[in-house]
Structure formats: C-alpha cells, structure tokens
C-alpha cells in the first residue's frame, strides 16, 4: 500500500480542489482529510457518515473554586498563560501538562481527559473517507491527524486497497509534520505568487527533512508567468519533477459552488488535464519503493 499526500505550505493554493479531482481518478483508494481544523474536502465529496468516534487526547486542568485560596502558585508556574486572573483555567490555552495540579497546595487543581473533537469513517462516491473535526481552539491537532492517518491505513488494508490519498493542512508545523509520517510521495501545490514560492520552498525543505520524495504541481499559472519560470528553475535545481500546470480558471470556483470535483464539472477540459497529471503522478508513485511499515 502506498500513501500520497497533497500539501502546499501556503493556504488557498488549491490543494483541496486538486485532491478532490485526484480522488475521482485512478485506482480504488481510501481518502483521508488531514486538514483537521479547517477541513473542506467534505464540501465536494458529500460523505455519508457511517461511524463517528470521539477524539479524546491529552488532559485538561480544572480548578475547584471552593478549594482555591487564590494563592497564585498555579498561575506563577503555568508556562502557557492558561490561568485567568480569577484563577480559572482558560481551556483554549491549557496544554494539559499538569503543573497546576502538581503544585496546588490545596488540591484545588485537577486533571481530566480532554475531548478534542470527532473523527468519522464515511462513504463517498470516490471511495471511503476518513475525516475529522477538531473542536474550536483545541490542542492535539497533530495527534488527531495521526489518528485519521492510522484509520485510513487500516481501512485500506481491510478493503485490500493499495492507495491512501491524503489532503494536508497549510503550514509546516505540528499537523503537517504529523501528516507526513510514513508518506511515500508528496505533491506540493505551488502558485506563482511571491508568497507561495517562498512557502513552497519551506514546505519542500520539510519534505527533505523527513526524506519524503516530492513532486510539484503549479496552479493558477496565468497569474504570473515569470514566477512560473522561477518555480521551474527551483525545481530543476533541486531535482523535483514538475507534474503539470493548471490555469487560473473560474471553473474551479464554479465546480466548488456546484459541490463537484473539476473532473465532474468540466470532464472534457480541465478534467482531461487532471487525468494527464494523475497519470504522471501515478508513474512516480510506481517508482517509489514500498516502505516497510
């Protein structure tokens, strides 16, 4: 089984639209949406949720106001500014370390398991989907990503499917790092803007750091042809294959509004382009040695 991820560093470059298109192409697969704090893939895939799981991870502190003497020891030692001036725990800032509970001389602070969100196993027209929703402002997005990834992998094994397709989140921090674990191949979506080129380089460095082979797909190429050339030059220098260019086309937005993938919305035009891109990605995927997991 192989696992392919689509990421971009910068947000809004078209990851999810591209992933939705790739979902509709190629062999049978299991899909995993690892953008757990602002997931959008379900808006195109319209999943039918089959199973819901609560995601409990880490702990959260509570302070019993009846026992609290307002001594301030907890606030003094909290490294996360999670104790309010009236000595209550601010759940959005609490990282669940337990320092307050350990230090409190009155045993007013205690720890309890933390419910951080939900994850789901669903059915879609392109195959099974594992996705999740992190609660507002929660910690542990990386662990939720790991949970989604493991569930997708198990599902693929159970169904005898050889491919897991992963939608990543923007950035290069915790959830992205979690989403890259054991990935066989990463497709980096670039766009020709000065910001996105910079962000592409950062996310490419991250894939290098974890020794994950990468491909580049350039989206919205008509915005700035000069920067498209720069992206190509950068990829050549770093031996990263560019698997295609996608035009800046309103049809992508129209497809999104219609709740369809671009392959369904414009099968003869952009849909064909996506097919060719998929064929190239598939070739690279074949060349990647199967990891022992």
């Amino acid at each position: 089984m192989k696992e392919l991820i689509v990421i971009s560093g910068k947000g809004g470059t078209g990851k999810t639209s591209i992933l939705a298109a790739l979902s509709s192409l190629g062999p049978k697969k299991v899909l995993a949406d690892c953008d757990v704090d602002a997931a959008d893939l379900h808006l195109i895939l319209h999943p039918e949720i089959l199973e819901t799981f609560e995601f409990i991870s880490g702990k959260e502190a509570h302070i019993d106001p009846d026992l609290c003497t307002a001594c301030g020891i907890c606030a003094e030692h909290c490294a996360f500014e999670a104790i309010s001036p009236d000595f209550q725990v601010v759940p959005e800032h609490c990282e669940g370390c337990g320092v307050c509970a350990f230090m409190c001389p009155e045993e007013a602070a205690s720890m309890s398991p933390r419910s951080c969100g939900f994850w789901y196993k669903s059915r879609t027209r392109f195959g099974p989907l594992v996705h999740a929703a992190l609660k507002m402002g929660e910690e542990n997005s990386g662990k939720l990503v790991t949970t989604v990834r493991e569930a997708a992998r198990d599902l693929a094994e159970e169904k005898g499917v050889d491919l897991v397709l992963v939608d990543g989140s923007p950035g290069i921090g915790c959830p992205v790092i979690a989403s890259l674990a054991n990935i066989d191949l990463a497709v980096l979506v670039a766009e020709p803007t000065i910001s996105a080129v910079h962000d592409l380089k950062r996310v490419f460095e991250l894939t290098q750091h974890f020794k994950i082979p990468a491909l580049v797909l350039v989206n919205k190429v008509d915005i700035n042809p000069e920067l498209v050339k720069e992206i190509h030059a950068y990829c050549r220098e770093n031996n990263v294959p560019v698997v295609g260019e996608i035009p800046y086309d309103r049809k992508f937005t129209q497809a999104q509004i219609a709740g369809k993938s671009i392959t369904e919305f414009d099968p003869k035009g952009l849909g064909k382009d996506m097919e060719r891109i998929w064929e190239k990605i598939e070739k690279h995927l074949e060349d990647v040695a199967v990891k022992t997991k």
């Binding site: 704090d37 929660e138 950062r202």
Partner: protein, 288 residues
C-alpha cells in the same frame, strides 16, 4: 490598539489586508506596526520589504538529566508525570525526547533530587525591522519544529511596546491561531465568497465568539463566487466591514508583492471603508 487579521481558511487574503491596512494607516500619519504571527509561512515581508535590523534565535526549555544526581528506577517521578511522554525510562536511565517536550517544567518541579537541568531546543528566529515608516515583527519557525505557539508568543512579546499593532494570524482554528488572537482588541475575519470560504468563516466566527473578541468580516475577491457569505452575515447580524473586489489585476499585483492600495483603485476604496469601519467599531480604543 491590537487588530488581529484572521480567517479559518488559508489563502483568503489575511496578509493582503494586514499590509494594506498598515500602509493606509501610515498614509494617515498613524503609528502602525505589523506583527506577522504566521511563523510557519510568514509572508508580510514580501509586501512591506522591511530591513531586518534585529534578528535573534529563540529557544525553549527542555530538560537534561544529571545522571549522577538521578535517583534512578526507584523514583521515575518525571517519567510518570510527563503528559507528553517526552521522558522515558530506558534500561537504566531517563531518556529525553526533546521534540515531544512542551516546556512545562513539571519534571524539574517534581524531581526530588534536583537532577533535572536546563537545556534548550531551538524554536526558530524572531526578527524586527523598519519598512518605510512601518515597523514589522516576524518569526521563522525552524523547519522540522512542530510547535509554533511558543515562537508566536515570542514574536508578540518583541512587539509589545508598539501602540497600534496589526497581527497577521496563521490560518486555521487551532492552537497557533489562539496564541495569535490572544489579547486582540478587535478581529478582522477575511473570507472569500466560496463554499470553502463560507465553511471556514463559520469556524473562525465561532472561535472569536468563544474568545469574546469583537469582530467584523472583510469579503475579499468579492464577485468571484456566490452570495452565500453575504446571506450568512445578514442572518448572523455580523458586520461586513468591507468588500475587496475580485480581479485578475489584483491577483497579479499580489503575485508581485505590490500593495493593492497603490495599484488597484477599487481595492484602495475598499481599504478606506475598512479603516473607517474599524474606527467606528473600536471607538472606545485610542488609536492616534
């Protein structure tokens, strides 16, 4: 006054709004500092071109075990207490996994033998500099470092003396966004009028409501999608602060790192409206 520019979805135009707003304030002879709280993929510098006058490395505490003082297997208090499994008992000593450590200090507080020593892990760089009358602060997370929040706190700390701050927040709704929004007097939520944009706007609205931060919405690339965002704003009684119209010219200007208030007249008008609406909404906060 601290104005946070946020959005659930990435790529909606947070940085565009932050840098153009700052440039507009400067034209009005107001102090403005831009704090780039996106330390994973910072982009403010491409639009304001600051000269970084100061740049330094930020680190966080991670423990080191003094083997001579450690009481060994009979104690293992640090290993049992660490909620992040950053300390593990291996054969006959405590092993530290730096990258799992949150820097809470519990191991050190709990050790009965004073065997936990201070060490550090590099988080990344923090930098500040001037850009044509605007001060810019930013951070650059070390590639491979998972925890963005401590570095974000350091960037904000570096800027704390500035009077009028514009905080360019990272995308999403999880901990880096919370750390960025913390202490904001007002939040500008930037969204695009598409189904993805609307879905993620709703998440961002939920978040600023939980955090009790007054807010309004900017619709960027207005006209590119449908009207569902505007309908939602009406329904929820949320202030539409401004609309920045969609155009290929604006996308091209952005791609080159240009300020829209200088190159796209319709966008310039939108930012004027945005600024006057922010002033109206934050009338109780001193700005000038």
């Amino acid at each position: 006054m601290n104005i946070a520019i946020a959005s659930g979805k990435g790529g909606t135009g947070k940085t565009t709004v932050a840098v153009n707003l700052a440039a507009l304030m400067k034209e009005k002879n107001l102090d403005a500092a831009v704090v780039d709280c996106d330390v994973e993929e910072p982009n403010v510098q491409f639009f304001l071109n600051p000269t970084w006058d100061k740049e330094w490395t930020e680190t966080m505490f991670v423990p080191r075990i003094d083997e001579d003082k450690c009481l060994g297997e009979s104690c293992r208090k640090c290993v049992e207490l660490c909620e992040f499994k950053a300390l593990i008992w291996m054969v006959n000593s405590v092993m530290v996994f730096d990258e799992l450590c949150h820097g809470c200090n519990l191991c050190k507080l709990a050790c009965p033998a004073d065997a936990v020593l201070d060490s550090t892990r590099e988080l990344g760089r923090v930098r500040s500099g001037g850009a044509d009358g605007i001060t810019v602060y930013g951070g650059l997370l070390r590639v491979g470092e998972a925890m963005a929040t401590p570095l974000i706190r350091n960037v904000k700390r570096a800027a704390q003396e500035e009077k009028n701050q514009i905080w360019d927040c990272p995308p999403g709704t999880s901990c880096p966004v919370i750390a960025s929004l913390n202490g904001a007097d007002f939040a500008v939520l930037v969204c695009e009028p598409t189904p993805f944009g609307l879905h993620d706007l709703k998440l961002a609205v939920e978040l600023v409501r939980v955090l009790s931060i007054p807010f309004g919405v900017v619709v960027n690339r207005a006209g590119m999608g449908d009207r569902r965002v505007e309908e939602y704003l009406k329904q929820e009684n949320i202030d539409l602060l401004a609309s920045i119209p969609h155009s290929l010219e604006a996308a091209q200007a952005y791609s080159r790192g240009e300020l829209l208030i200088h190159s796209i007249p319709e966008a310039a008008a939108g930012f004027e409206t945005l600024w006057s609406n922010i002033l109206r909404k934050t009338a109780d906060k001193a700005t000038a």
